[in-house]
Symmetry: C2
Subunit: 164 residues, 2 copies
């Protein structure tokens, strides 16, 4: 499996993954009916670093973005978002992309990384982030309306990228 910066040639494969994940509506707070144009504009926004994970003979099966979480005095804190094709889950792809992302964030000079919106029912992601050194630093009560589970809590997760 290879993780590399995305190019325009990856847009179709990325849209397929984005569409699948966003339409499910249970892990991201994005409109499930987001258009291809809007979704790709978000994923390839100015100032956003976009990557893909590619499997030999299969193609692009995952994608992530890395960007400053805020501008101005907050631009030293990174934010990231990850999506994996349903067909490729349970194979460590999320972990591989997350480790790649932490390495890229350090290379780009970020001092910390923040996830603004980790839905509490997304236990696989929470376990992974905790395993990679992130802590739950905030809880937003009933902030997400889950398609099956109703109103559920959302976590803010954070970790320093500075050497201890």
């Amino acid at each position: 499996m290879k993780i590399r910066p995305a190019t325009d040639a990856d847009r179709e494969a990325i849209w397929n993954i984005l569409h699948e994940v966003v339409a499910a509506g249970d892990t991201y707070a994005l409109d499930p009916n987001t258009s291809r144009e809007d979704a790709l504009a978000y994923w390839f926004a100015p100032g956003t670093h976009t990557y893909v994970a590619e499997q030999p003979a299969i193609g692009v099966v995952g994608t992530y973005i890395l960007r400053p979480n805020q501008s101005g005095g907050g631009s030293h804190v990174a934010n990231a978002g990850f999506m994996v094709s349903a067909s490729a889950r349970g194979q460590g792809l999320g972990r591989a992309m997350a480790e790649h992302c932490l390495s890229e964030a350090r290379r780009l000079g970020f001092r910390a990384m923040q996830f603004n919106y980790v839905i509490s029912t997304n236990t696989a992601a929470i376990r992974l982030w905790q395993d990679l050194g992130f802590e739950i630093v905030g809880t937003l009560a009933s902030a997400f309306r889950h398609p099956d589970k109703g109103y559920v809590h959302v976590y803010v997760m954070y970790r320093s990228l500075l050497k201890k």
Copy 2:
């Protein structure tokens, strides 16, 4: 003092306030060099409700925005941002706009309100939000580079808008 929805005729007055607050760089994580065009596009973005506070014989001295903090399953939580002209501070304008904002948020059907980025050195704002029922629900360590004080913590603040 009158608080009302902003119109295009308020753009010049709003830009004067935005420019002053953002250039100071100590309360918002926005690029201090943000252009007039970008700043007004942000303050009048689609889906954003924009208001001004007007004083008789003086004109617009404050402005705030109210919008969904997230899309999709997170769109029932509001976010808001407030700016007051330096010349009009200490007169209860922030409180009056915040109370107006909470009322508008309820009218629009939001179930909670979240401030994503309250800089810990902005003690007047924190006291006001706490007085209005907000709690610090998260702390982001050293997430803001203050122009005078170096890296300081940032708070996430939150309150329900549902009747108890």
